[in-house]
Symmetry: C2
Subunit: 317 residues, 2 copies
């Protein structure tokens, strides 16, 4: 029975990860860590998964060390992250600590205690930063220009991972994961926020709904969270240690496209209004990735179309 | 009267910084911070400097904030660093925290409290990592390949600095400072360690002295600490905010060259023996910098030759 240590167990990616793990049919053991485990998470029930939780702060080295040594995982799926770009501008310190430093604690504990496991180190498409259109779609060897504190934290995590692989022979697979889309994502992210705002308008019987947004002209590579977790399983199985993989759809859509699709799915008119507070400093204009490398190494490719992903979000809003 | 907040006040660079500041003849006020202030530092006496000390851990945000707001510096000269590459392999976590995280605390405190000051953010030639000989001498726009935890920490600090300059308009000058050489450097660094070992042999009356070393074939750009602090004053005065400057001699010498020069200065025979424990994983073979940019922007250039620097070290060993 394989043992998975999953950080950020209360997050939406972790939920989809557990759901997929359960579908495999093999029995698995999961220890889920989070700062605070919600009642909802505590009630997760998956017939093939023996699931336990510990509430702890990943910045507390000793507490984390005790949990990791006690559980002795085969895989560490490190999903915990302060992952909002917007909030990283407000709280750069917290963003850095809760990305780079928590990863560093995990790597150090694995090294010190010689825990024999494979680590999935999740990074972000934000690491690429402001790129020229000529370098699209972004491949893993594209030069990085991280342009916000969250992106810097992720690049730092990646550079540290490489030291741990090269010098200490830790088994780490690195990803640059692109913008997730899917059910259970918190509504401080753009798409769930849009879906919720429109849904509330629909409940009030409005035919024309006003949506408060940030800059919706930016183009992103949105990938269904179910594709993301499939990629993570593919990488845990067939990824090469020390290698870096884009996890992306390979397609670019503006947030305006998303709004238009949501309007279509809900069957309403949507008028957007830009809230200057939601426009971030130095935002990247366009991000589209290439998934050639992960496909070549693992056979993985994305399955869900943007409209299917949005329909799932709308159904569960 | 200008006010300088100097972190790492007990270190050898800080001593030379104070000495130079004193020589300018203008009255200045310095608040020196360090984890532990040595008795020796407490007895520093410079006629033109009003010097105070506070013992604090730069990782303690609130303590640091109180000190910085109370003092209200015109310049922050951030010299504190866990700067040993060798030790960063043994203690990557401490290395990262005591480079990147302490810098981030300083930048956050300046931002939050709107402290109107210029910050000197010191980085390292180690950031360049393993480079091809064809890219020597290294210019500031050379692609970085940080190859040890200390180097990663410095690159992270640099990327964070850029965010603070671009988005928050902090006034930060960045350096990549090359290998320092000079009096008062701790003997866990190679050159003072060599000088001390040879000096002890000389005291014992030996004519042939055995020296325990790491890999002495690596080539480094050694720069006299007096040149370094001159560069820092030049940058505080004429450096451009957000710009990055190599602080280097522009010349490469192997550690073997250094050993040979030391043997010549002491007038003894030196036989070297490699201690495998002192050979670092993944070490950079050759590092030589270009000082064209700092010279163009400030007029600074290095003055001391390697042999002069070594003579100063030997005189004070």
């Amino acid at each position: 029975m394989k043992k998975y240590l999953v950080t950020g167990i209360g997050g939406f990616v972790a939920y989809h990860f557990l759901e997929r793990l359960n579908e495999f049919g093999e029995k698995a053991e999961v220890l889920g860590l989070d700062l605070k485990i919600s009642q909802e998470a505590k009630e997760y029930s998956f017939e093939n998964i023996k699931l336990n939780f510990i509430e702890l702060n990943l910045l507390e080295y000793r507490a984390l060390e005790i949990a990791m040594v006690s559980f002795s995982p085969d895989f560490i799926v490190h999903l915990a992250s302060f992952s909002s770009v917007g909030k990283s501008w407000e709280m750069p310190l917290e963003s850095f600590l809760n990305n780079t430093n928590i990863f560093l604690n995990i790597a150090e504990i694995v090294r010190h205690n010689k825990i024999n496991c494979r680590i999935l180190s999740v990074g972000s498409s934000e690491e690429y930063g402001n790129v020229k259109e000529s370098s699209l779609p972004l491949k893993e060897d594209t030069l990085l220009h991280p342009a916000n504190p969250y992106a810097v934290a992720r690049v730092s995590q990646e550079m540290l991972s490489k030291c741990y692989v090269d010098a200490y022979k830790l088994d780490i697979i690195l990803t640059r994961s692109f913008n997730h889309i899917g059910t259970r994502q918190r509504t401080d992210f753009a798409i769930p926020s849009f879906a919720k705002q429109i849904s509330e308008g629909v409940k009030q019987g409005l035919r024309e709904i006003k949506l408060i947004t940030g800059d919706i002209t930016v183009i992103r590579d949105f990938i269904d969270v179910r594709d993301v977790v499939n990629a993570y399983f593919a990488l845990l199985k067939d990824g090469k240690s020390g290698e870096l993989y884009n996890v992306c759809s390979g397609k670019g859509h503006s947030l305006k496209d998303v709004v238009d699709l949501l309007a279509k799915i809900f069957g309403v008119q949507v008028i957007t209004e830009t809230d200057p507070k939601r426009v971030r400093p130095l935002d990247n204009r366009i991000i589209i990735g290439s998934f050639d490398k992960i496909k070549a190494h693992t056979g993985w490719e994305p399955k869900f179309k943007l409209e299917e992903s949005l329909k799932a979000v709308v159904k569960n809003v």
